[in-house]
Subunit: 197 residues, 2 copies
């Protein structure tokens, strides 16, 4: 994109602003059902104005999924994800995953609906699976060090943990009664200690 | 439907058999995208042969969702769901919900995708919400009797429990490494006691 092209974008929408509106539309109507024409109408821009910011609808999807995936992968790169015993690192990663989910709610919602229909979707799924595998490895390590119970299969435990965390996109609303930090603590409490007194 | 009409149905498919094939197609292609013509092709029947068994595609959906909902509501009617302390009743209902999910996997999968686009879907959603409310009430009661911790909001706890249980449709396969009974025990273990040793 040339500088002239960038300047021609209507004031009020940079790429991030277009992405936000696009992701809301993808989540509402589905990616396939959302045409660039629909997006242009929602933005009050011409299609060509959108093309000053992104090359294609596919690129919008890739950027949107990247927001979620960069966030999740970033958690694994934090120092607390690689120091301390495995149970502490796992706790840090689960807390971080909830934080990414609540901070980037529409982007993670979109990510969780991806089924691998296009090359962009398949790359995103591969990155999501790599994240899941990293968490699964932490669960195994925490069991092997004796921090987590051995009578629940680590693969099943990992899936139940993600089931709990990912379901948050179905009902969490920013500014609601339950804050994001409290929610992350609740997830850790249930996951590690259970609900029983 | 007249007796003659029933007899005209091709041997090998009764209503339950048609329903099974229909639900698989609804889950694969989506309800809207699955026409009666597609179903007829899959069944190797004429459309009119299908109409000997069900009045409409809408009725197929209603019957399919009923399979899942009757199962879940049935759990609430079992004696162990109304005897003992609230934590025991809750454990029974959660175990029963996992059992219905694994026994009726395609039907529950379909139920969990319903968004309320038609009258049949809205009635199903209303029944699903009533089931969820019954479980939420048990969580509150168990907390009030002192069996469940008071530092996790019962509404959040209920949502996390359903998140864990409902996510099972994403990966559980009958005959896989983890049997249905073991899975139900694992869910109860995580929910009540947590993964920490």
């Amino acid at each position: 994109m040339t500088e002239t092209a960038v300047r021609r974008g209507r004031p009020g929408y940079d790429q991030a602003g277009i992405l936000e509106v696009a992701v809301a539309a993808f989540n509402e109507f589905g990616y396939d059902a959302t045409s660039m024409g629909v997006l242009a109408a929602r933005l009050g821009l011409s299609k060509s104005a959108i093309y000053h910011h992104v090359a294609s609808k596919d690129e919008l999807l890739e950027l949107a999924l990247g927001q979620a995936l960069d966030g999740l992968e970033g958690v694994l790169l934090e120092e607390a994800a690689s120091t301390g015993d495995a149970a502490e690192r796992l706790a840090h990663v689960l807390r971080g995953a909830v934080r990414v989910l609540t901070d980037k709610l529409p982007y993670v919602t979109l990510l969780l609906r991806v089924r691998g229909n296009t090359e962009v979707e398949r790359r995103a799924l591969a990155r999501r699976r790599a994240f899941d595998r990293a968490v699964a490895a932490l669960v195994v390590e925490a069991r092997d060090e004796g921090s987590l119970r051995a009578d629940v299969d680590p693969g099943v435990a990992t899936r139940l943990l993600f089931g709990m965390i990912n379901s948050i996109v179905e009902w969490y609303r920013p500014g609601g009664a339950e804050g994001a930090d409290q929610l992350a603590e609740d997830v850790l409490t249930v996951a590690f200690d259970g609900l029983r007194v």
